[in-house]
């Protein structure tokens, strides 16, 4: 009975061989069907796929689904080769398989076979199925179990891969029929356009993007989300108040579209406005005034921000000022006036700063008040109008006595000694205008000036001082030239009468004895005022003065006297006698006679 090889008895080995043979035969006979873990599904969905109506037709054709070992091809590849619809879904990212991001490697995650002719080919566990990847989460539709939740078939009565909106409606009508009726009317029946299974957008929805408070809390969704049949449209609902409330705007659009500036969702009444946000902040006495005081008949816009918009009737200036009241008045009160008088072109300086406005603006007249001094100060004119109306030409606004006058603006400029004298020296008795400008009106002619000085003092005297006096002798018929310039006046004007002096040279200059009786003409014939010498003859001299190389030297021909001449100094007597033989009356002292050689030339 001992078996050294244990079970490896002869009969056991025979049995093993027989079993192997039996398996080989059976496998060959069934097309490896003996290795099949179960019958393939005979359930047919629609038309043929891959040439067969169901997997059952592939019994015995293992290779139809099972790729050869180590070929690199997966069974999923063969699945997709037949199930082209799924292949297209995966390629497009759409449909159930596209949304699930399925692939050839993941077919087996959900699908199987060999579980019997009628067994389902999809083994996806609904409890772990990523339903949210289909675009709809089951967060709010927990799968059934222990009496709660819903089952797959409740939403997918026809097929797990199909869905129809009426399925939702039918179920939810049962939950809240009135609400669903209103909801369908407001948003339509394309449930999945908005609902993704996570947000119900119902009572528990957090309306975070636009918190619903006050009157908005109980408002029906459709009241704001009108005609919103998709989530995109739902989310795009404007949050502007006016979008929903425009039709009931009691302001009729006058206040724009931002209702929330004054109103809150708590209610239309009790509106508050921060007037500072407008262009007209309420300050001073405007604070606390009834809104309707300015917003007459509840017109909230277009009121105008100028004072006159409301205060035109209050204007005590009777429309004199076309500008804004605020230019002078503060909002604290009408009497709080600040006015920059300088802007008017008439700055109030010195003495003008203190008087009351009415001192100049009598009778409340402000506009077109004349700015001339005389307009106010006519009665104050100490000059009785003698200086005209422009006081400012002499006076300042400080005091009347603080006056300055530019005498140069008159016809009588104050120069020299006139500049320092008091006004009264000339303007006697307070008379300024019409004061004569003649020297004699102030300065009496001295006795030394006889009647010969009948002209103006200024002819000889300047305003600097009476002396020295100067006279422009060139104004007379006797211009002072040469040595006459610088000669003392008394040299010629020997008397106190300056006008009786002769202009003849001889009246001052006695003829020298050397001239004898030869020079009877005017001294100036030969002499100039520069000096007596040298003298030059400028009178008539018919005989050429440059004859015989004289060159203007008189003594060449006139060796002894200017009235006689001698030709013998150059023309020898002997030669001339020889030359004038046969001529009667020849004499070397009369050569220049008109009958012989009047111009020096000739034979």
């Amino acid at each position: 009975m001992r078996r050294p090889l244990g079970c490896l008895t002869f009969s056991a080995l025979i049995a093993a061989v027989l079993v192997v043979l039996a398996i080989v035969v059976a496998a060959a006979a069934t097309g490896n069907g003996i290795f099949s873990p179960g019958r393939l599904s005979s359930v047919a969905h629609g038309g043929a796929v891959g040439g067969v109506a169901s997997h059952a037709e592939l019994e015995g054709r293992c290779e139809a689904c099972h790729a050869p070992a180590l070929s690199g091809e997966r069974m999923g590849d063969r699945c997709l080769a037949c199930h082209t619809t799924v292949t297209n879904e995966i390629a497009s990212g759409g449909g159930l398989h596209g949304r699930l991001a399925a692939s050839a490697a993941t077919c087996r995650d959900c699908h199987t076979d060999h579980r019997g002719a009628t067994a389902a080919l999809t083994l996806a566990d609904p409890r772990v199925f990523p339903h949210e990847q289909t675009g709809y989460s089951l967060a709010a539709h927990s799968l059934s179990g222990r009496g709660v939740g819903v089952g797959c078939r409740e939403c997918h009565p026809a097929s797990p891969v199909s869905y129809s909106a009426p399925t939702c409606v039918g179920c939810h009508q049962g939950l809240d029929a009135p609400y669903m009726t209103a909801h369908l009317a407001a948003f339509g029946s394309a449930c999945l356009n908005c609902h993704d299974g996570v947000d119900s957008y119902g009572k528990t929805f957090t309306h975070a993007t636009y918190p619903l408070t006050g009157g908005h809390e109980k408002t029906e969704c459709g009241a704001c989300h009108k005609q919103a049949t998709t989530l995109a449209v739902l989310r795009a609902t404007s949050t502007e108040c006016v979008t929903c409330h425009a039709a009931k705007d009691i302001h009729q659009g006058r206040l724009g579209s931002n209702c929330a500036e004054c109103h809150s969702p708590a209610g239309w009444t009790g509106a508050t406005i921060n007037h500072d946000r407008t262009r007209f902040a309420l300050v001073g006495r405007h604070v606390g005034v009834l809104c309707e005081s300015c917003h007459v008949e509840r017109h909230w816009t277009g009121i105008g921000t100028t004072c006159s918009s409301c205060h035109a009737k209050d204007d005590p200036h009777r429309g004199q000022f076309t500008g804004d009241c605020a230019a002078c008045h503060a909002a604290t009160g009408w009497k709080d006036v600040t006015f920059d008088h300088a802007k008017t072109g008439f700055a109030l300086t010195a003495g003008h700063a203190k008087p009351a406005c009415a001192a100049c603006h009598a009778g409340g007249r402000y506009v077109a008040t004349p700015t001339t001094c005389n307009a106010c100060h006519a009665k104050d004119d100490a000059h009785s109008g003698s200086f005209g109306k422009d006081c400012a030409s002499c006076h300042k606004t400080t005091t009347w006595t603080d006056a300055t006058f530019d005498h140069s603006r008159t016809q009588f400029k104050l120069t020299g000694a006139h500049a320092g004298v008091t006004c009264q020296k000339c303007h006697i008795g307070g008379l300024f205008k019409g004061t004569p400008t003649a020297c004699s009106s102030c300065h009496a002619k001295p006795s030394s000036h006889t009647s010969a000085f009948a002209g103006s003092c200024s002819t000889c005297h300047s305003t600097k001082a009476w002396k020295p006096a100067t006279f422009n002798h060139n104004q007379t018929h006797f211009k002072l030239t040469g040595a006459h310039v610088g000669a003392a006046c008394q040299k010629c004007h020997t008397s106190s009468h300056f006008t009786d002096a002769s202009t003849a040279c001889s009246s001052c200059h006695a003829k020298p004895s050397s001239h004898g009786s030869n020079f009877t003409g005017s001294c100036s014939t030969c002499h100039s005022t520069k000096a007596w010498k040298p003298a030059s003859y400028n009178g008539p001299h018919t005989f050429p003065q440059r004859h015989g190389g004289a060159g203007g030297v008189c003594s060449k021909c006139h060796p002894s006297s200017w009235t006689s001449y001698s030709c013998a100094r150059c023309h020898s007597n002997k030669s001339m006698i020889d030359k004038h033989k046969g001529r009667s009356g020849f004499s070397l002292t009369t050569c220049a006679n008109a009958n012989c050689h009047p111009t020096g030339g000739g034979d």
Binding site: L8, T9, A16, V19, V20, G33, A69, M75
Partner: protein
């Protein structure tokens, strides 16, 4: 109780496994053979059956350095044989198609065969260690008893004393007992031989089928995925 401890343990294990299996089937579904649980059941069950087939056999032949008593290994053999085969049956997911179905049936048959064989085996006298008492040893005991009886009759055959009669009665009882054991041993050896002739080829067929099944599963469900 002590003599059938392995049966009790195997029964408890099977009950526990059945409870878990039923609970999972109720809560989820019957674990498919190709699923994680189904595969685990099959692999663990097969390994236990493999141990059933090999470990006890190896121990019986481990004369030089034996580890543990033969009884303990027999108990382990029976335990793994019952529990392992039960797991394999659960692995089938109650589907009996093709080779896998035949393998399941074969498993049940072999285990049933082993269970029956176990009781044939227990009918064979053994020492405390469970070693089969060979016929020669029994024959030696029988001879020893007979010599004792002869000595007793020679010492007081005419008028046997009280002690002698007592020894005689005891020797006769022992003689009858050993003769019964001898008769039983002869019957048991015949039946056991018959059972072995059937059980061992069935077991071999089972394991051949199991290996082919495993190979096919690896081929189709793993390599050809």
């Amino acid at each position: 109780m002590a003599r059938s401890r392995e049966l009790v343990l195997a029964l408890l294990a099977i009950l526990a496994i059945t409870g878990l299996y039923a609970g999972y089937a109720q809560a989820v579904s019957v674990p498919a053979a190709s699923g994680l649980i189904g595969h685990s059941l099959g692999i663990v069950g097969f390994l236990m059956m493999l141990m059933t087939e090999t470990l006890y056999s190896l121990r019986k032949r481990a004369m030089r350095r034996p580890r543990g008593s033969m009884r303990s290994w027999l108990q382990f053999h029976i335990f793994t044989g019952l529990v392992g085969s039960y797991l394999v049956v659960l692995h089938s997911a109650w589907s009996f198609n093709g080779l896998a179905g035949a393998l399941t049936v074969m498993t049940i048959v072999v285990v049933g065969s082993g269970f029956v064989g176990r009781y044939i085996y227990t009918a064979v006298p053994r020492t405390a260690d469970g070693v089969v008492i060979e016929a020669q040893e029994l024959q030696g005991q029988l001879d020893l008893v007979r010599r004792e009886m002869a000595m007793a009759q020679g010492a007081g055959a005419a008028i046997p004393s009280g002690t002698a009669r007592h020894q005689d009665r005891r020797a006769n009882r022992r003689l009858r007992e050993i003769e019964r054991q001898m008769a039983a041993l002869r019957w048991a050896r015949r039946v056991l031989a018959t059972w072995h002739a059937i059980h061992i080829p069935l077991g071999m067929a089972l394991f051949v089928m199991a290996f082919v099944h495993i190979g096919a599963a690896v081929h189709y469900a793993t390599l050809l995925r």
